[in-house]
């Protein structure tokens, strides 16, 4: 592998890793604050991709579709938490797992009814369509750089909110000691709703910006969900920083695995997870970091 190919693969790894981070951070936030294992998180990603498909053809402008999609996602997330989860916190974890499992089936079938089962493509917007030459006649598409840029911006934004705002403080406190936060007079139901809506918006955003690169297809939610579980487990459940590190790690292992050792690529990620768990059973970072 020459230097240019290596560079391109590195960029691909970072881009894939950052995209995974976007999905996994929502998963880890929802778990860290609410204690819910959200199996439907992959469906949110799928919903995002299909939103990009329908909205961009409806509105005709990718940026506007992106904005609209995020607003829709926040509203939908807020409503979902209210309708399906708000009465489950007193119950054991398993009811919530089962509820999210039921939601997956509903979302998949609704998608099938509304949009059909065909594989779709979403056009890369014209203003992001070019590519940058990086020597040896190789070029790197601008859109992939744009994806990485969006993910980095969101990561930075999340860091700022979690570390330096009042809401972030409540979120961090909530992931450490829920009862204490509640007894300090903070409306925990509202906090849950906000976190769930934010988590959903992150997954939807990831799905939307991924749509032009990966095609939009029915089973896309499931595969992302499982990889995100691996990310969350490696990074430490409830840790956003851990999710970032683990997502990048997975990005590199998966991308280079596919290039260097094709047959084992699917398994490699899980071997990595097993190795890390043997070394650190609780993941790389603590909850709330």
């Amino acid at each position: 592998m020459d230097l240019t190919t290596f560079l391109i693969q590195c960029l691909n790894s970072v881009q894939y890793g950052l995209l995974l981070f976007l999905v996994a951070s929502g998963l880890t936030l929802i778990f860290g604050i609410m204690g819910v294992i959200n199996l439907a998180h992959g469906s949110f990603y799928m919903i995002g991709a299909y939103m990009a498909f329908t909205l961009s053809s409806l509105v005709g402008n990718f940026a506007l579709a992106l904005l609209l999609g995020i607003v829709l996602a926040v509203v939908l997330g807020y409503l979902l938490e209210w309708c399906f989860f708000s009465f489950l916190y007193e119950r054991e974890h398993l009811s919530q797992v089962l509820m999210t499992y039921g939601l997956i089936l509903v979302f998949e079938e609704l998608r099938s009814i509304l949009v059909g089962d065909d594989v779709h493509g979403v056009a890369v917007p014209a203003w992001l369509g070019g590519s940058i030459a990086i020597g040896n006649g190789m070029a790197y598409p601008v859109y992939r750089l744009f994806m990485s840029g969006v993910c980095l911006a969101v990561a930075a934004g999340m860091y700022a909110v979690i570390r330096h705002t009042r809401l972030g403080m409540v979120v961090r406190a909530g992931s450490t000691n829920r009862e204490m936060v509640q007894s300090l007079g903070i409306d925990i139901a509202l906090l849950y709703r906000v976190v769930f809506a934010a988590g959903m918006a992150l997954a939807v955003l990831a799905g939307m910006i991924a749509a032009p690169v990966a095609s939009v297809y029915p089973g896309m939610g499931g595969s992302v969900l499982i990889v995100c579980f691996v990310v969350v487990v490696i990074g430490g459940i409830g840790s956003v920083k851990g999710a970032l590190v683990a997502a990048l790690l997975i990005g590199f292992v998966d991308t280079f695995g596919k290039v260097l050792w094709q047959q084992a690529a699917g398994v490699l990620v899980y071997v990595l997870m097993a190795a890390i768990l043997l070394w650190k059973p609780q993941g790389l970072f603590r909850q709330g970091t």
């Binding site: 204690g35 974890h93 398993l94 089962l98 089936l105 690529a265 097993a274 609780q282």
Partner: protein, 341 residues
């Protein structure tokens, strides 16, 4: 000497005898279709029962149970001879052994984790097994592979069952279900079972009492894996076809669904859960192409209104009924089963 046999054992016995009558009933009821459907229910019942040992009695929520089920099914498909009928005893033992061995190895790794981690890690390991079969040519890749000729069960040169006949297959499935229930009931009455229930309630205290909880949990995980191998064996024989989808996480999710739906910590609950799940799926599939929508809606409603599962619902109904019969005792109406931590 008259040995005391618990009423539950009589109830199980009566249920199995009644179920065994299905193939000899007259046509509309005892049809081949119903026998095959019944066998499907029984296979899922064994699968759910094996997971119940983990979820309901040991407190280990595994979302990767399909790995063992599918591994056993693949073992049958790979070991069965292509041109003649395989030896059923040997294939059953090999598939159960393979599933138990896989469970033991994965168990060694996952026992380091607990709670939510356990759910995710079991899922990830099952996914690893899925990709091994999906991406390599070991079992025909994503297309899967076939069991061309159903295995034979012979004893002293005498053929006991003809598995090509749906009635014989149904009886075999019923027999193996009964064996699974019996084995689990014995395990739960033995020292192992008591230790497992203790671990579910308070692992810390069990360890303080000098119990090697990791070893017990590993034993439970291996046993559950092996028993799901029985279901995997039957699945491969019934369908004559295995593909990676039987290892997929939806299969694990369905098993967990059956256990929770039926009622956690109850052997009849697991069977009831499998029964309702298979029949509902069959019914919904007959109604519409988009049957998963109905299934999803059903799951959501079941979670909302049946917190203790179907078995818990029965207990609640019985409580109501007794309360009406004995109004003075209304204050001590049994509440639905205690919840798991």
């Amino acid at each position: 000497m008259h040995k005391h046999i618990p009423t539950a054992a009589w109830a199980w016995l009566a249920a199995f005898v009644l179920l065994a009558l299905l193939p000899v009933l007259p046509e509309p009821v005892g049809s081949a279709f119903h026998q095959e459907l019944g066998a499907k229910v029984l296979i899922m019942a064994i699968f759910a029962l094996s997971l119940q040992l983990l979820v309901g009695y040991t407190g280990l929520v595994s979302l990767g149970h399909a790995a063992f089920f599918g591994f056993a099914a693949y073992t049958v498909a790979l070991l069965a001879p292509q041109s003649e009928a395989g030896n059923g005893w040997w294939l059953l033992a090999a598939s159960v052994g393979a599933a138990a061995l896989l469970a033991f190895v994965i168990g060694l790794l996952v026992m380091r984790t607990r709670g939510i981690y356990f759910i995710m890690v079991t899922l990830a390991f099952a996914q690893m097994v899925y990709f091994v079969f999906h991406d390599t040519d070991l079992g025909g890749g994503s297309d899967g592979t076939y069991v061309y000729i159903k295995p034979e069960f012979t004893l002293f040169g005498h053929r006991l069952l003809d598995l090509e006949q749906s009635a014989h297959f149904y009886w075999l499935a019923l027999l193996l279900t009964a064996a699974t229930v019996g084995l689990l009931a014995l395990v739960l009455r033995a020292r192992l079972g008591h230790a497992l229930v203790g671990i579910r309630h308070n692992e810390q205290r069990m360890r303080a009492a000098g119990c090697n909880t990791t070893a017990y949990k590993l034993a439970s995980f291996t046993l559950a894996g092996g028993l799901s191998g029985v279901a995997g064996f039957l699945f491969a024989v019934q369908h004559g076809y295995v593909n990676p989808e039987i290892l997929a996480w939806h299969q694990s999710g369905n098993a967990l669904l059956m256990v929770i739906l039926g009622g956690i910590g109850s052997l009849p609950g697991a069977v009831l859960g499998a029964f309702s799940f298979v029949l509902l799926a069959e019914w919904f599939q007959g109604m519409t192409k988009h049957w998963q929508l109905l299934m999803g809606g059903f799951i959501i409603i079941a979670v909302a209104v049946l917190p203790q599962g179907i078995a818990g619902g029965f207990v609640w109904l019985r409580g109501r009924w007794q309360a009406r019969r004995r109004p003075t005792l209304a204050a001590v109406v049994p509440t639905p089963q205690e919840s798991t931590p």
